[in-house]
Structures are given as structure tokens and as C-alpha cells.
């Protein structure tokens, strides 16, 4: 069917084709998904073209995590496609993971036909209702004519302001109805206008506060990574000469090998980072949100008076948990550029003597060597594996992780020097994230070294994705720190529950070597410290194969330092 439109002949195409054309217009490279009844028309259209490549996962959670890893390791929007009902509910964990870490994503979900909505139809669920609390926004498209503009809005909302996942729910009949297609070049929404430029006057005020600091600290989070402001941050930190700490989500924003970097802060942060955070008199917080794992008990944190400058793109992050003195709302990169521009005018009259005293204090704290561990034993220490991973990959790998002790050791011992190299579920803490996320990373960076640091518990939460890795020949290196425990659960039970290891023991583990081999991958089991480095070297020399490294590690090892729940930042348990 053809329609005459402004003298041009506009073809009528199906909703499914419109969706695929939208993806092409957005330059989408990969769609991670799993087919099903409600999305058959969409899959049919994907089949007929080859611009947008579809990656078939083995579980919808994996699709969303893979899109997530793809997005975190690039600056692009991750795209996932799942069917209605269980396809959506399986995807929810992935969507919530992306939401908590502000990852831009568009998730297209099939829905039962419009006439069946609300009838408890087969594979029906209230997708918009179920996902509402864990998306930046969601849409139900009831008319084929609305698809293009909705898709445009979805991509726009996902990537701008504070990024996040956007769900587009499309009933099956809407994908078969026909309409003309024209993709809007731009979109304006009266209800959504994110702030970009920071207030120049506030920035001037902030610089004055920084200039007067005697014990300054710069604390940055995932916002610097997401806002692509690592270079600006590095320039600012070096210009000021102040100490800098990154949150778990912010690692790589400032080079961890630099002297001004005092390590990660928070529950498992370094002694020097936590002490400096607690005792600073001026705190510059950038793209970070003072969450419970970062500042510990807020009341304890307030006991020390300090002036806080907070830069964030999301106004609701400012003064949410901690009262802020100088709020600056804006895109982190634009704001930092304005800081740098204003500081170039003249040399900042810093209190150099106070700074020297402050650095002397910090070096004393650093001298505590809080990350030291016993290297003499015959058992493999998990920290040692990460150190060797860092050496073998020359600090240049993309490292994804699952959740638990291994995640903390990876964060502490792999010295990230570039943004978007450390990929983990910080906010939601989703076990099962690491492997599918690594798939997205490897697809985005086909020749890069990609390591998934995991534990024997976490890896089993999305282990089915080994099959996806086989199908697409993804040469991920899975570094399993196998202590036969849910290590972090065990650690808390040891410290706070009288050594009663309730259900934290991983009995009946599979033979991971054979399991890897059964999927057509390479499996290696490593039991001696001396074998760690050779095994890693061999694994990373196998450029085309996925290698599953099963490191049998010391079962009793704990993550230190540790700020126990409810305690203050400076009340750490040390080795």
C-alpha cells in the first residue's frame, strides 16, 4: 500500500519494520535478546536485514546484562529485546541493575495484542507496572503511528541527563499494523529538559572554597565515568594537587597508579581514603551520591565539620543523604571544564603549608599498608590472583565482575588507569552480572582482553551464557576465585553471626573444567600459588578461546579493611 504524502510516495510498513528501522537510524550495532510469541514479527524483520546484529542469549537476564556491559564499556546505548510475560520478568533483574548504576539502555519488550491486554492472556504481564520502579521511564505503544516518535524519545531519555534504562512495550498487533515511517531528527519534550551547564557563579564560589582548604579531598563516582569526564577530572586533580579517591563505580576515572590517588573509599576502601574522607575540611564530590556503602553511618560522618561541594547532573542526588554547602547541578564534564577555565585566570592561592601537612598525614595513613596480606602460605590467596591478573594483562584489560569478595578484591588490587575498564554491578549488587556483561564488552571490543572476575557462587547464576559465548566465539577469560563459599556472606557470618555459616557453603560444585569443555571452551584448574601466573599467561595467550580458570583459593580469606554496617568511616576493621 502506498500513500501520497507531500508529493512523495510514502510506503506503509509494519510496526515491526518501523522498530528495526528506528534501531538502524540510532546506529544500533547489537541487539541482545531472546525470541518469543509476542516478538515474532520483530524477529522476522531483524532476520530480513543485516545492519543490526542480534545476539541470542540463553536467558533474558543475560540479554540485559550484556547490553549493559556493552554500554558501560563504550559510550553507547545498550539495546535488549525480550518477549512478553516471563521474558520481561526475567529481564527485570538486568533492568534494575542498570537503573541503580544509571546505565543508558533501551529495552524493547513484546506485549500481548492490545485487545488481550488485561485479560490475563498467555504470557501477559503488566510490563509498564512491573518495570516502573526500576526504569528511568517506560512506554506502552498502543498505536503503530506512535512507534517512531516513542523510540526516538526512548533513546533520547536513556542517554541524556542522568542516564538510565527505558522500556518500550509493544503489543504484538501493533508490530503487524502498518504506518508510514519517518524518524524524527530531533525531539523536544516540555516535561524533560535536563540541565547541562553548571552555574558559573556556584563554580566560582566552589573554587574559593577549594582555595581556602587546609585538608581537601576529591571524591568521585560513576558520574565521572558516565559523563566521560575522566580527562577533565585528572587535569583538575593534578592542577590542585589534592588527594583523590574513587568509589567502586568511579574506578578508572583517575589513574590508580598515580600518587595523588588514595585508593577506593567506603566499606572496603583503603585506610587512607576513608581517613582522609572523614577528616577533610573541604570535600569536592563529583558524580557521586554519598551512599551507605561509601560514607558508612551518616551521623558519624557529620561529626567532623567540613564544607561540601557537590557536582551532579541529578539535582535529587544533591543533599539527599548529606547536606551540601555548594551544590552544582550540571553535566560533570561541562562543569569540570568550567572549573578549569576559571582557574586558568590566575594561580590559585592555595595554602601550600597546610597541604604539605595534610599530605604528610595521608602518607602516614598510607604507610599502614591496609591491603597487605599473607603471601607465605601454600594456598592461593585471592588477592594474589588479581595482582597477577593485573600484571599479565599489563593493567589494560576490561574487567567485569560479579558480586562478593572477589568483586572487592578486583576493585582493590586491579589498578585501573582508564575509565570504562571496570564493569560491575555496584548499586544493585547483582550476582550473575559478570559473564553476560563480559559478552557485551567483548562484542564491543573484539580484540581486547576481557576478564570476568567471579566466584564459584556468582558464576553459576548466569552460567548458561557459556553457550552464548560458544555461539559467538567470545574469548572471555573467566577468573573464578573458588573458595567453596559465598565468601562475602561467610565473612559477615564470621564477623557478626558467631561463625554460623548458614547456607553459605557451596556444596556439590560442578567440575568447572569439564563444564567449560562441554561448552567447547578451555577449562583450567589451578591449586598452587606458583601456577597462578603461568595459567593466566597461557589463558590470555589463547586469543580466540574462552578460558575458564578455576582458582582454588584460601577459604578463610577476608576482605579488609572493612567498615561494619552502621559504623563510621574511620571505624574500620583492619588486618
Amino acid at each position: 500500500m502506498f500513500l501520497l504524502f507531500f508529493g512523495r510516495v510514502m510506503a506503509m510498513i509494519t510496526g515491526a519494520e518501523i522498530v528495526v528501522r528506528c534501531l538502524q537510524e540510532e546506529g544500533v550495532e547489537y541487539v541482545f535478546g531472546y525470541p518469543g510469541g509476542a516478538v515474532l514479527f520483530l524477529y522476522d524483520e531483524l532476520f530480513k536485514q543485516n545492519k543490526v546484529k542480534h545476539i541470542l542469549v540463553r536467558h533474558e537476564q543475560g540479554a540485559v546484562h550484556a547490553a549493559d556491559g556493552y554500554s558501560r564499556s563504550t559510550e553507547k546505548i545498550g539495546v535488549a529485546l525480550v518477549t512478553s510475560g516471563p521474558g520481561v520478568t526475567n529481564a527485570v533483574t538486568g533492568i534494575a541493575t542498570a537503573y541503580m548504576d544509571s546505565i543508558p539502555q533501551v529495552i524493547i519488550t513484546g506485549q500481548v495484542p492490545t485487545h488481550a491486554i488485561g485479560q490475563d492472556a498467555f504470557q501477559e504481564c503488566d510490563t509498564v507496572g512491573i518495570t516502573r520502579p526500576c526504569v528511568k521511564h517506560n512506554f506502552l505503544v498502543k498505536d503503530v503511528k506512535d512507534i517512531a516518535v516513542t523510540m526516538k524519545k526512548a533513546f533520547y531519555i536513556a542517554a541524556t541527563g542522568r542516564p538510565g534504562p527505558v522500556v518500550v512495550d509493544i503489543p504484538k498487533d501493533v508490530t503487524s499494523h502498518k504506518a508510514e515511517f519517518s524518524y524524527p531528527a530531533t525531539i523536544a519534550m516540555r516535561s524533560y529538559n535536563p540541565v547541562t551547564k553548571g552555574h558559573a557563579g556556584q563554580i566560582r564560589k566552589a573554587i574559593q572554597v577549594l582555595a581556602g582548604a587546609k585538608r581537601p579531598m576529591i571524591y568521585t563516582g560513576g558520574g565521572v565515568i558516565l559523563g566521560n569526564a575522566a580527562a577533565e577530572l585528572t587535569q583538575l586533580v593534578r592542577t590542585l594537587g589534592f588527594p583523590c579517591t574513587n568509589t567502586l563505580m568511579g574506578l578508572g576515572a583517575y589513574p590508580a597508579t598515580d600518587r595523588q590517588f588514595v585508593g577506593m573509599l567506603g566499606m572496603h576502601g583503603t585506610y587512607e581514603a576513608n581517613m582522609a574522607m572523614q577528616h577533610c575540611d573541604v570535600l569536592l564530590a563529583i558524580g557521586a551520591r554519598f551512599d551507605d556503602r561509601v560514607i558508612g553511618n551518616p551521623r558519624h560522618f557529620f561529626e567532623e565539620p567540613r564544607t561540601i561541594i557537590h557536582v551532579d547532573v541529578d539535582p535529587s542526588s544533591i543533599s539527599k543523604r548529606v547536606k551540601v554547602d555548594v551544590p552544582i547541578v550540571g553535566n560533570v564534564r561541562d562543569v569540570l571544564r568550567e572549573f578549569i577555565r576559571q582557574m586558568e585566570g590566575g594561580k590559585l592561592p592555595l595554602d601550600q603549608e597546610a597541604l604539605r601537612t595534610w599530605w604528610t598525614q595521608i602518607e602516614l595513613w598510607r604507610g599502614r599498608d591496609c591491603l597487605k596480606y599473607d603471601r607465605s602460605g601454600t594456598l592461593i590467596k585471592p588477592q594474589f590472583v588479581i595482582e597477577k591478573l593485573y600484571e599479565v594483562t599489563r593493567g589494560d584489560a576490561f574487567v567485569t565482575s560479579d558480586v562478593g569478595q572477589h568483586q572487592m578484591w578486583a576493585a582493590q588490587f586491579y589498578k585501573f588507569t582508564k575509565p570504562r575498564r571496570w564493569i560491575n554491578s555496584g548499586g544493585l549488587g547483582t550476582m550473575g552480572f559478570g559473564l553476560p556483561a563480559a559478552m557485551g564488552v567483548q562484542l564491543a571490543h573484539p580484540r581486547a582482553a576481557v576478564a570476568c572476575v567471579t566466584g564459584e557462587a556468582s558464576i553459576q547464576m548466569c552460567i548458561q551464557e557459556l553457550s552464548t559465548c560458544k555461539q559467538y566465539r567470545l574469548p572471555i577469560k573467566i577468573v573464578t576465585l573458588n573458595n567453596k563459599y559465598m565468601g562475602m556472606v561467610r565473612q559477615w557470618q564470621e564477623f557478626f553471626h558467631g561463625n554460623r555459616y548458614a547456607e553459605s557453603y557451596m556444596d556439590a560444585l560442578p567440575d568447572f573444567v569439564k563444564l567449560a569443555e562441554s561448552y567447547g571452551h578451555v577449562g583450567m584448574k589451578i591449586e598452587k600459588p606458583a601456577d597462578v601466573e603461568p595459567a593466566l599467561k597461557e589463558a590470555f595467550s589463547r586469543k580466540k578461546e574462552l578460558v575458564f580458570l578455576d582458582f582454588i583459593t584460601d577459604q578463610t580469606e577476608n576482605v579488609f579493611p572493612m567498615v561494619p554496617g552502621g559504623k563510621g568511616l574511620s571505624e574500620m576493621i583492619l588486618v
Binding site: 516502573r132 521511564h137 516535561s191 524533560y192 539535582p315 535529587s316 547536606k323
Partner: protein, 163 residues
């Protein structure tokens, strides 16, 4: 402290649940919530009565602004404003009570809008406390049913909330 917050939002399916979901997810109080389309049919206006410390109210307005469907938010309690609530009360009205109820309704400037030989339905508008006062003033045993809309609010004078 009690605050009355006005929200202009896109008149779209699900917009109300985004707001109510926000309040329940973040543990904010809702004393009342009213919503209806405005003179511009693409926009709805919502009035939320809530209580909380200054910090909580600041978060509520920020979180509301963050919702994609929300166009504008103002805290009416920040300045001069008027609020009104509508109540319908069905009261027993037999014998001597009939005259007494009519008089009470008149005193409170209510209107009797439905009459049977056994009861009246009275329409009453005012602030929440006026409606409370009316219910206290009449014989509690005579009240058969009440329904209240929750407060609607508007700024005084040139304080205007529009796109």
C-alpha cells in the same frame, strides 16, 4: 510539617501511578492526592498534601521533577495560597433532626443537594479543618456516610502555575 504540592503533568496513562509509586517506594507520606485534567486536555493537575521535614519535602519536589511525565512542580506552602476540599455527607434527618441539620448546613454554608424523607445529603466546601469542624458539630450518630475529595490548591494573586 504539612505541605501542599501542585504538580502539572502530562495527561498520559500511568502518570498517576508514577507519582503514587514514587511516594510508596521512597516512603513519603500522602495525606491526600487529587488529580484531574486542566483546561489544556494534554495536561493534568495534581494536588498532593504531604508531611515531612524540610529535607524530605525538598527530596519530594526533586523526585517529582525527575519523573519524565512531570512538567512543573510547586510547593504551594512556600507562599500565599488557597486550598479547598469538597465533602459530601449523608446524614440521618428524621423528626426534629431535619430542621437542626438544615440549620447546621446553613451555618457552615453547606447545601443540601439530595433529600429523602429519612436523610439529607449535604455538600460542603472549605479547608480540611472546616470540614472536620462540621463533622464534629453535628451528631456523630446521625452521620451515615462521608466522602471527601482531598484538598485542591492554588496560589494567591499572580502566583500562577502553568506551562
Amino acid at each position: 510539617m504539612r505541605h501542599i504540592i501542585s504538580v502539572l503533568l502530562e495527561n498520559e496513562a500511568g502518570a498517576l501511578s508514577r507519582v503514587s509509586g514514587l511516594f510508596s517506594a521512597r516512603g513519603y507520606n500522602i495525606e491526600s492526592l487529587t488529580v484531574a485534567p486542566t483546561e489544556d486536555a494534554t495536561l493534568s493537575r495534581m494536588t498532593i498534601v504531604t508531611t515531612g521535614s524540610d529535607e524530605v519535602i525538598e527530596q519530594i519536589t526533586k523526585q517529582l521533577n525527575k519523573l519524565i511525565d512531570v512538567v512543573k512542580v510547586i510547593d504551594l506552602s512556600d507562599g500565599d495560597h488557597i486550598e479547598r476540599e469538597l465533602m459530601l455527607v449523608k446524614v440521618r434527618a428524621v423528626g426534629r433532626e431535619r430542621e437542626e441539620m438544615k440549620r447546621m448546613a446553613d451555618i457552615f454554608r453547606g447545601r443540601i443537594i439530595d433529600v429523602t424523607d429519612r436523610d439529607y445529603t449535604i455538600e460542603l466546601t472549605g479547608t480540611g479543618s472546616k470540614l472536620d469542624a462540621f463533622l464534629k458539630a453535628i451528631d456523630a450518630a446521625a452521620i451515615l456516610e462521608t466522602v471527601r475529595t482531598g484538598a485542591s490548591g492554588i496560589g494567591r494573586g499572580d502566583r500562577v502555575l502553568r506551562v
